[in-house]
């Protein structure tokens, strides 16, 4: 019994040390985001702030380097991109699984494997294409890209989901004279609300965290998504005002933290979807 207790104590000891290693960097970031620049350079980083400067730091991160507009842009990109891709993917999934278009599996593979290549394969042609079509550095261009990149995964998931809906539902609706689009909207869509919510959360997170395409497809702070703004904030100060940079990091992370802690169950469901993501 004693040996077992000792073993449990050791395990908990290791867990607590690990938890500290995982939590301390975040704690340090928060307390240093609250420091004034002079306080930060005069005292060790692990000291508590001598005056509470967080709101001033957040304000200067929000205003300078366009982190504020990046934040608002990314909410728009995330909501519009995720919603549009779910609509487009549900149409495709309905066509493939329910209407059984000829060559449906091939079409599915073309849609699904369009994005399995490394993202670096897409950046140069998209940059050139966006310049030609005057989509470069425009909000429309970014929404279009974020929609397109989310479509394959949404199609994969919704295709799996629609194939579990009993075909009798559609047959009954057809007998009543409903059109296919109507059946998708009032039979299949309501049945897949929970899957769509998980997908929305998942794609919103992807779009929110994107840096690469933000810096490839846009250049001005008023169009940049939030992570592009945050990374240019780093370059802007070159380390001269770490408290402001850390405040910027807090701003950029805050929606994800709120989403994670309020919708944790959806995240876990989303993860079991990721497992199937290539």
């Amino acid at each position: 019994m004693k040996a077992a207790n000792a073993k449990q104590a050791v395990i908990y000891g290791c867990l607590i040390v690990a938890a500290l290693i995982w939590a301390l960097p975040i704690w340090w970031s928060v307390i240093n985001a609250a420091k004034s620049s002079s306080d930060f350079f005069a005292h060790p980083f692990y000291d508590l702030p001598r005056e509470f400067n967080l709101l001033a730091n957040i304000r200067s991160a929000w205003d300078s380097a366009g982190l504020g507009s990046g934040f608002i842009n990314s909410i728009f990109y995330g909501v519009a991109g995720a919603a549009a891709s779910i609509v487009i993917a549900s149409l495709a999934a309905y066509g493939i699984v329910v209407l059984r278009v000829r060559g449906g599996f091939t079409i599915f593979m073309v849609i699904f494997s369009g994005t399995v290549f490394p993202l670096q394969m897409y950046i140069i042609p998209l940059f050139k294409m966006y310049n030609t079509l005057h989509l470069y550095n425009s909000r429309l261009g970014l929404v279009l890209f974020y929609t397109a990149i989310s479509v394959p995964f949404c199609t994969l998931v919704l295709r799996g989901f629609y194939s579990t809906v009993p075909p009798e539902y559609r047959e009954a609706a057809l007998v009543e004279g409903a059109a296919e689009a109507r059946i998708l909207r009032s039979v299949y869509a309501p049945l897949s609300v929970s899957a769509a919510l998980v997908l929305f959360l998942f794609q919103f997170t992807w779009i929110w965290n994107d840096l690469l395409f933000g810096i490839v497809l846009s250049s001005s702070p008023s169009v940049h998504p939030v992570m592009a703004s945050l990374s240019s904030l780093m370059g802007l100060y070159g380390g001269s005002s770490l408290p402001v940079e850390l405040s910027g990091a807090l701003i950029a992370a805050s929606p994800m933290l709120v989403l994670f802690f309020t919708l944790r169950r959806f995240f876990t469901q989303g993860l079991s979807l990721v497992v199937r993501r290539t």
Binding site: Y46, L99, P118, Q120, M121, M234
Partner: protein, 314 residues
């Protein structure tokens, strides 16, 4: 089956309806089929127009001297020949491979350990949230935080004041190859939580009766882990390893924020190299060639997994 209990008249009528419907359905069904392509069209246009188009064009650009200004000229294999002779190639291959190996061993291993230890343990929710927190804040934010911690006013100061002099003056992000290892630490810190949650999903699929039977046979602790838990987790482990390799081979965000591949390209990887050649030096032909080589690596690394998931999709 239900029609059997209906009066004969009704069921005969229904049969007649069905026959008439069958006669009608020839041309009608074809009409419906054609319009049903409208459903798949938007997705097809987006994916083919943006992604399949890009893949073809990137391969083509890699055979040209495209620089974003003048009209590209076909130059054959000369970008690839230049790539083989580039002194930066070995650094990029080395760093890319280190990232791939480290991101399989560290986060997957630690995630597995955390999941097995925390499963059915009191306080699981608290520990699980703490380990997952870094994943929730995102790559770029993680990069900002660890740039601060690995910078001059960061953990070196802590080690110094703790009396660990040898770690007090370390240039975490400037010394080679330490800078790559430092970023791997930051990346591990970030992704362990998600691997842990994935292993929880895997652990939930293990039949408790099998565990009970193994317990009766005297398999507990390490023995149970080695002979029951680990083999049962194999499918999940395979998925996690595949995702980790593919992600690590494309490592970009964290490196871009923390070192931009520097100093002097010492911490660059293929993904970063492509971006820099294409968008900082505007050598897009060269950048495209690097991207093509990276793609070959990624496809080779994930071919087994891809084949499996294709079979499952079918």
């Amino acid at each position: 089956m239900k029609t059997l209990s209906l009066p004969r008249v009704v069921s005969a009528q229904a049969a007649g309806d069905a026959r008439r419907a069958a006669r009608r359905s020839g041309p009608a069904r074809r009409g419906r089929k054609l319009s049903s392509y409208l459903f798949v069209l938007p997705a097809l246009i987006l994916v083919v127009g943006m992604f399949w188009y890009s893949i073809v064009v990137t391969v083509w650009i890699s055979f040209t001297d495209s620089n974003g200004l003048t009209t590209p000229k076909f130059v054959g294999l000369s970008n690839y020949r230049a790539l083989v002779q580039d002194p930066a190639l070995s650094t990029n291959i080395y760093n890319t491979l280190i990232w791939a190996v480290a991101m399989i061993v560290l986060p997957v291993g630690l995630g597995l350990v955390a999941a097995v230890i925390l499963k059915k343990r009191r306080g699981r929710t608290v520990f699980q949230s703490v380990f997952y927190l870094p994943y929730a804040i995102g790559f770029v934010t993680t990069g900002v935080i660890w740039s601060f911690l690995f910078g001059t006013n960061g953990i070196s100061e802590l080690f110094g004041s703790l009396g660990i002099k040898s770690l007090g003056n370390v240039q975490w992000l400037n010394d080679v190859p330490l800078n790559t290892y430092s970023m791997i630490i930051a990346s591990t810190w970030q992704v362990v939580g998600v691997d842990m949650l994935l292993f929880f999903v895997g652990l939930d699929t293990i039949d408790p009766q099998i565990v009970e039977a193994a317990n009766l046979d005297g398999a507990v602790g390490w023995k149970l882990f080695r002979h029951i838990t680990l083999p049962s987790l194999t499918p999940m482990t395979r998925v996690i390893v595949a995702i980790s390799i593919v992600n690590a081979l494309q490592a970009f965000n964290l490196i871009w924020v923390m070192t931009q591949g520097g100093p002097y390209g010492s911490s660059s990887t293929f993904a970063l190299w492509t971006y820099q050649q294409s968008f900082q030096y505007y050598k897009m032909g060269y950048g495209a060639a690097i991207a093509v080589v990276l793609t070959i690596f990624v496809l080779l690394a994930s071919i087994g997994y891809l084949r499996r998931s294709l079979q499952e999709a079918r």
